[in-house]
Symmetry: C2
Subunit: 613 residues, 2 copies
């Protein structure tokens, strides 16, 4: 099965607006902050001891992701100024690439003698992101200077790591290059790149040299404790992990390696059934930015890095392209509309790295003051972080969101996601007219598919589906409805019932007992105290007999909800008879989770107490 | 008003059993561990650098409290072996007292040149406890050697701190000597001791020298930031604080100082209305073993030191003796039957220093593993701590529990607490026949009170009171029923309705929202997972329509309760429609809180989810 690139899909509507904000606000903000902090200048490789802005080991990846995002943007909206910035950077990279092909601004400037000796130092990770950027820029503009630079560098990596095995380690401490190499193979048709990716994946967990390079968190931190097929759950640093799984899925897709796909699927099931927030956040542990054990999903100390949710969506997208099972796109959708989008402010200028499901400022202050906690709390998004991987990752993700919609094989077009859009590829045209995620109606017009089949994902959250005004009556397999196309241009008017609903969580999750989250379609809702008369949110009990008043909120781009709740009445006593405990009714205003923290510092809550049955 | 000493009150029943366990188990255990760790040998003052068991600044207070406990025990049960141990220790103390009267085993051994220079080093605190021990031993045996040693030492302290003002500080960094000096005044009739106590209290917060001795936590940590009458809430180290309040109340009682009493009362109200666990635990903060802000009463990280609850009970007892308001004895009772008693195992051999209201072993392990928490968790009591103030404090407290029952003034006998007992003092005899705290019936027989009044506390937890079989019909003021005594020997057959009940807490307490605690009479209940099929206790919902089956539990000395609950059903899904969430009925076995952690390592919970109204 083949994935249809965003380059064939013109997005409008909800995502069109996000893409436009991304283009006009996010790209500039990220560029400017990276410029201020010396990240772009670092590629000149002329930093020396005593100078400001000492390059960091991951800076190449930061600017690479920005270049990738800018390239995606250029594809739909030519921008000579963006091109100039990229060309300028590419020229510097090319000028400083060593004769044998090496390029890493940190090592070339700071530790030239130590290249390929420190497994945990993001060297191959940076190479991977630079490769993705080079491909994106080539595909957007046809300019191949950067691509050639990266091919030369990858050729060096192949020689050192595969042919000679002469580096101090065998596989990257921070995975990413695996998926980039497959992409380079797709772009160039050069099979050696696919083989190098497979080499890194197959060597993982088998190489003695890697064990000698153990990092501070142990070898399960970077998924190197056993070969990948023996890994049965998602563990360790969640971004590294999910990028590895992307690479594994890519190899499985290109080679038909069933055991590798099965390994991916086992891990995927572990994530979605035991280690994922309702927002699609993964990696709940702040210790090592890692997956925690099954059902360990605390809300206020949630780590749930933005990049990790992006990586989960990328992993799920790859799995959808191998095996059409709606669990993949459901998970991608959960991440995309919640923890990914929460990573960027509504105006596109500021970012969250960590995405908790509860902000309780008083509790945080109590922990710091009275319990010596060293937790940090960020209640508002900021423009740049010391480790600023998320902002450019968001930028490239949003600008290529169209990647998620379609896969095709010989006979079938799979429609995985719903966005107002027009697509054209391989003689097929697909028009989606929809107010998704505001409404569950999607009018799909397909041309050029006569005699073939369209498979439409039925979202996991819907209870009723109609097609062309009648209850859906089609073959449904693993969450996809298979529709035979009989006309040159066929209208599929889908309606996925999208009711506000209360969702409970597994009783093994500590802290969610007796609680529920308000959801509508793919969107998880939260309440902010600042929008609710500064009430204490844990004093709110939502009425289980939900009737949500929906009001379109221009700022967030979808509906906010007003729901009936009850609030514990203030009282003077410290302890008193339960029978005397009183509540009063109060309408609670809830916003999509992704829209929180755009209204000043505030408490925020996703999981609410609810009334009994 | 005058407090009746435990020496006039022979205790039986529930507390008779606890006193007997204290005598036969606790006294020996504490002595042996203090002997093992060198605490008793330290009074020989011959430790020198390089030797084992370096004396600690608070060791004198540890052995002093043990001597005090042993002396109380001797008063009812003569024990020549105990006397020998005390005499041996007293002889060493006397032999090492310096010519000018000084005695402190730490300073004499370790820093002889530094006496009275380090405000935070417990020097006057140790002197206070030694003084209390000397008085107790004198009152128990008539032997006055120790008392004379301490009078001489106190005379030195008076000269240095009051007459000469020549120490490096003005008032103790750890209060306690204030109340001990009043006791010494009561014992000897020497007014100088009362004046010295008053001097320490009045100087507090006024002395520049003290400010220069600020300790690591700032001057509000040891209640020195402003003069005591300006302190409006309970703050800082909770044991220091409550001992200071005891001293303030003692001075107010002996001098009629209304403003000092009012200061105590303001602080007392702050404690019981905003800063006290339902168990009577105080000092919720582990940072500085301190009071936290109003309503900061987290359950699993509760500090709630055993000594702090003892000190609260001692403070409340003193307030009861000044102003008969049942809020004082209610608070004392709350502490005594819950957080104090929880401090010692049912067999009397092991102790808790910290008394949380929730044990959640999984959550604790998750915090350590995934969130870099450095919290400690003690799930079982131990025999001795590095800082082992609580075990001997419990020993002296339990052996003098009879102190709490009565106060008298010219016309009125106040009965504050209910314990099976016989008392005789000043021509009066009081017999209490009761199964309290198992049952609310108390048959009080009073002799020698004809023409006077008996004031009987109506416990705050009761809803119905009868006297001699009829609904109570007497003047009730501030929680005391005033009964005129018309006979030489009069029977007052009180019945305080004692139903199991569910108690809610102020909605401002983070973590207790929508929860309730099972209580019966003064006893707070908890459940342990180990006694309930190892269920996850936060999956339990107690039925608000409570019907508790009560079964006498010999081991804990009162009833355990079987109550109807519902348990969240296990399920496979991570997230699912709230309507699909199911529970199943389950009988939950609950024990008195003080009886927890006697059945192996276990989760434990006080505050349970409850069904709706």
């Amino acid at each position: 099965m083949k994935n249809i690139s965003f380059g064939n899909v013109k997005i409008d509507g909800f995502w069109g607006r996000r893409t436009e904000i991304n283009r006009t606000a996010t790209l500039d903000t990220v560029y400017n902050r990276f410029k201020d902090t010396g990240r772009f200048d670092a590629v000149a490789c002329n930093w020396r001891e005593g100078m400001p802005n000492k390059p960091h080991i991951f800076w190449d990846s930061d600017i690479a992701k920005w270049i990738e995002a800018a390239a995606y943007s250029i594809r739909y909206t030519p921008d000579s100024e963006l091109e100039r910035k990229i060309d300028e950077t590419v020229d510097l990279i090319a000028a400083n690439q060593t004769e044998d092909g090496y390029f890493n601004s940190y090592y070339l400037s700071v530790e030239p003698e130590n290249r390929f000796t420190q497994r945990d130092n993001h060297e191959l990770y940076c190479a991977g992101h630079l490769t993705e950027a080079a491909i994106a820029y080539y595909e957007a503009t046809g300019k191949d200077k950067f691509l050639k630079v990266m091919c030369k560098y990858i050729d060096l990596i192949e020689r050192i790591f595969k042919d000679e095995d002469s580096a101090a380690f065998c596989t990257p401490g921070h995975e990413e290059i695996e998926l980039a190499l497959v992409r380079l193979y797709d772009c160039t048709g050069e099979k050696r790149y696919l083989e190098l990716s497979r080499h890194f994946i197959e060597q993982r967990g088998r190489c003695e040299k890697d064990l000698n390079c153990r990092n501070w968190c142990g070898s399960d931190y970077d998924q190197s404790e056993v070969p990948v097929r023996e890994q049965k759950d998602a563990h360790g640093h969640s971004v590294r992990a999910a990028y590895l799984y992307c690479g594994m899925a890519d190899i499985a897709a290109r080679t038909g390696d069933k055991s590798l796909f099965d390994a991916c699927d086992t891990i995927f099931d572990n994530i979605i059934n035991k280690r994922m927030y309702i927002t699609g956040g993964i990696g709940s542990s702040s210790h090592g930015e890692a997956f925690a054990d099954d059902y360990v999903l605390p809300n206020d100390v949630a780590y749930s890095e933005t990049c990790a949710s992006i990586a989960l969506a990328l992993f799920a997208r790859r799995m959808s392209a191998i095996c059409p099972d709606s669990k993949y796109a459901d998970a991608a959708e959960r991440a995309i509309y919640n923890s990914v989008l929460a990573g960027v402010s509504l105006d596109g200028h500021a970012f969250f790295y960590v995405n908790p499901l509860e902000i309780n400022i008083d509790r945080h202050n109590v922990r710091k003051k009275f319990y010596e906690s060293r937790e940090n709390l960020l209640t508002e998004r900021i423009e740049v972080f010391g480790c600023s991987c998320c902002p450019p990752n968001l930028a490239r993700f949003v600008s290529s969101i169209g990647d998620f919609l379609y896969t095709i094989d010989e006979n079938t077009l799979y429609i995985h996601h719903y966005m107002e859009s027009e697509a054209e590829f391989e003689g097929i045209k697909v028009l989606q007219q929809t107010r998704y995620p505001c409404e569950g109606g999607v009018r799909i017009t397909v041309s050029g598919m006569k005699g073939k089949t369209v498979a439409v994902r039925i979202p996991g959250w819907t209870k009723y589906v109609s097609l062309n005004g009648e209850k859906l009556d089609a073959r449904v397999e693993k969450g996809y409805a298979y529709i035979d196309i009989t006309k040159d241009e066929q209208l599929l008017d889908f309606w996925f019932e999208m009711k506000a609903r209360l969702v409970a969580s597994n009783p093994l999750i500590d802290g969610n007992e007796g609680r529920a989250a308000l959801c509508r379609g793919p969107v998880v809702y939260c309440a902010e105290s600042v929008l609710n008369d500064n009430i204490k949110l844990n004093n709110v009990i939502l009425d289980r007999n939900l009737s949500a008043g929906l009001i379109f909120n221009e700022e967030v781009g979808t509906y906010e909800a007003k729901v009936k709740g009850f609030v514990d009445k203030p009282c003077d006593e410290l302890y008193f008879d339960l029978d005397c405990a009183e509540t009063e009714e109060k309408e609670i205003r809830m916003l999509p989770y992704y829209g929180y923290a755009n209204h000043g510092e505030s408490d925020m809550l996703v999981w609410f107490r609810v009334t009994d049955k």
